[in-house]
Symmetry: C2
Subunit: 334 residues, 2 copies
Amino acid sequence: MQSGEDKLIARYFKPLATADGALGLRDDAAFYSPPEGHELVLTADAIVSGVHFLPADPANCVAKKALRVNLSDLAAKGAAPAGCLMTLALPAGSNDSSSNETWLDAFASGLKADCEHFSCPVFGGDTVKTDGPLSVSIFAFGVLPRGTMVQRSGANPGDRVFVTGTIGDGALGLKLLREPARKAAWSLSDGDAKHLIDRYRVPQPRLAMAAAVRALASAAMDVSDGLVGDLAKLCDVSGVSARIEAKAIPLSSGARHALSSEPALIETIATGGDDYEILCTVAPDRIERFRELATAADIGVTDIGEILEGHDPPRIVGADGAALTFARTSFSHF
Amino acid sequence: MQSGEDKLIARYFKPLATADGALGLRDDAAFYSPPEGHELVLTADAIVSGVHFLPADPANCVAKKALRVNLSDLAAKGAAPAGCLMTLALPAGSNDSSSNETWLDAFASGLKADCEHFSCPVFGGDTVKTDGPLSVSIFAFGVLPRGTMVQRSGANPGDRVFVTGTIGDGALGLKLLREPARKAAWSLSDGDAKHLIDRYRVPQPRLAMAAAVRALASAAMDVSDGLVGDLAKLCDVSGVSARIEAKAIPLSSGARHALSSEPALIETIATGGDDYEILCTVAPDRIERFRELATAADIGVTDIGEILEGHDPPRIVGADGAALTFARTSFSHF
C-alpha cells in the first residue's frame, strides 16, 4: 500500500529521523519540547540548483550546504542545533532512473552525516515533484537559554568588529568552478584551488563559537550575502556606522594568491558572499575573553575594524586610508 | 543600502511578522518559547505551481493553500497554530514587472489575512529566484499540552472511523478547473461548481476540532492524499484494518450531483485527495461527547465505518456489500 513517496521517505530520510518526536516520519507532524529554561531559535533557507549551487556539484555537498547555511544562522545567534525539517523539490522523473537513485543515495548520505555530526536530526518534511530545477528548503531550529539570542541590533560605538575564519573563499571558489582557467591565472596550488571550491560547496558553520558569541558579542549575524553588505545590515539595525580595514580581512592562502594576482578581487572577497562565517561586535573589555574562547574552540577570529557613531554606511578602507567603493555591496537575487 | 530582497521582505512580509520573536524579519533568525507545560508540533509542506495548484489560481488563494495545508496537519494532531516560516521560490524576473508586483501584493495579502485569522504569524523565511515554476514551502509550528499530540498509531479494533466536513470536493474542483465542460455534464449549479473549485483552491483546516480530537480521538491524520490511501496509512501504523461504507462518505451538494451523473467518480472522491479534512478514530464510549464537541464547533462529523482486527488493507464497501477496487488508493507524486 506504500506510495512512491512513502517508499522514498522510508528509504532515504527515515534513517535521519532519530529523535523520538519525529515518529520515524510516519506521521503528519512531529513533536518537540525545548529543555527547561530554554527557547527555540528558528530559521529557514532555501537553495536552488543553478543559483545557490551548481547542477554538477556532488549531491552529498548539496545536502550539506542546504543544512549548513541554516546551521550558520543558528551559530551566529548563539544557539545549538536541535532539529530540522526539509522540503525537497525533485525534477520530474528524477527518481525513476538509476542515475537519480544514485543522486538521492548520495544526497541522503551527505545529509545523514551532517545530521549526526551536528546533532540535528530530521523531524519531518515533504518531497514534491517540480518541472524546474532541484531545490531544497530547510527549516532548522536550535535552542539556547531563554532571552539570550544574540541579535543584529546590539552593536555600540567603540565595539570592535570581528569575523571568524576567512572571508572570500566561497565567492572565489564559485569563480573557479565557472572559469577553471583562473586557477593558473591566480597561481593556485591544487590544494588552494580545492580549498576554495570546497568552501563554496560545503560551508563550515561556526557552531563551536556559538557559546562565546552568546556570552560576549553585542551583536552578531552570519556572513552569507557578502561582508560589506552584511555589516551594513548589522549597522543599520543597530543604528551605528563602522570602519573596517581591507588589509585586516582574514584571507586563506588561496584567496591571498588570487588577490595578489588580481587586486580587483578585493570586491569579490568583500562583497561576494557564501562565506558562512560569523560577523560580530565585541566591547573592548570583553575582547580578551572572546579571543580565549575562540582559541579554546580552535576557530580563528580576526579584528577587522571598529563600530562608530552615526548612520553612514560602513566604510572599508584600503592601504592608502581611502575608502574603497564597490559596484554592489552584497549578493542579491532581486 | 537595502537589497532588492530586503525591500521585498520589508514590503510584503514584515507586516505578517507580528510576534516579538520575529524581530520584524530584520535578523537571521527568530526566537520562540512554547507556553509552560506545552510542547511544539512541527510540520512542513511545499506546494508547486502546476502540481499542487494551477498557474492561473488567484495569488491570494495560493498563499492561503500553502499555509492551510500545514494548518490542517496541526489540526489533525490536536494542536493550535503558533507560527510559521516560509521559503518562496519566485520565477526569475517575476518581481520586475508590474503584473508580478500585483501577484505578490495579492499573495502577501492572502497570507496576511490567514496569518491573522488563524493566529499564525510569520517568524522568518527566505525568498529565492528559480528558473522553474513558483513554489512555496511552509514550515508551521503549533502548541499543545506536553505529551498530548494525537498520532496515527492509536486506532483500536471496535473504534469508529470519523471524517470532518465533506470528502471529494477538492479533487472534483480540480477536474472542473481542468475540464469546465464537466459543469454541465454533472448538472452543477453555479454555486455548486464554485464550491468545488473553492474547496480545491482554499482548504478549510479544521482547527476548531483540534481540542476535540486531542481529547477524544484514538488516532488522527488529515486527509490530503485521498481518503482510502490515508486511512490505509493510519491502519498500517496502528496495526489494524478497517471497513468503510461508500454510501456513508459525506458529500457536498456538488459532489452528490457529480456522483449521480457519473457514478465512477466514487474513485475520484475516495482517492483523489486535496480534502484537508480530519480522519480520526473514536472509541464507542467517546462518540457521544465527540459529536457534542463537533456540534459546538459547528463542524460536521460523519461516522463512515469501523476499525477491525487484522492487517488487511481497509475495504471500502459499496451499496451491494462488495468491496470497491480502485486503480490507485491515493495521490502520489512518485
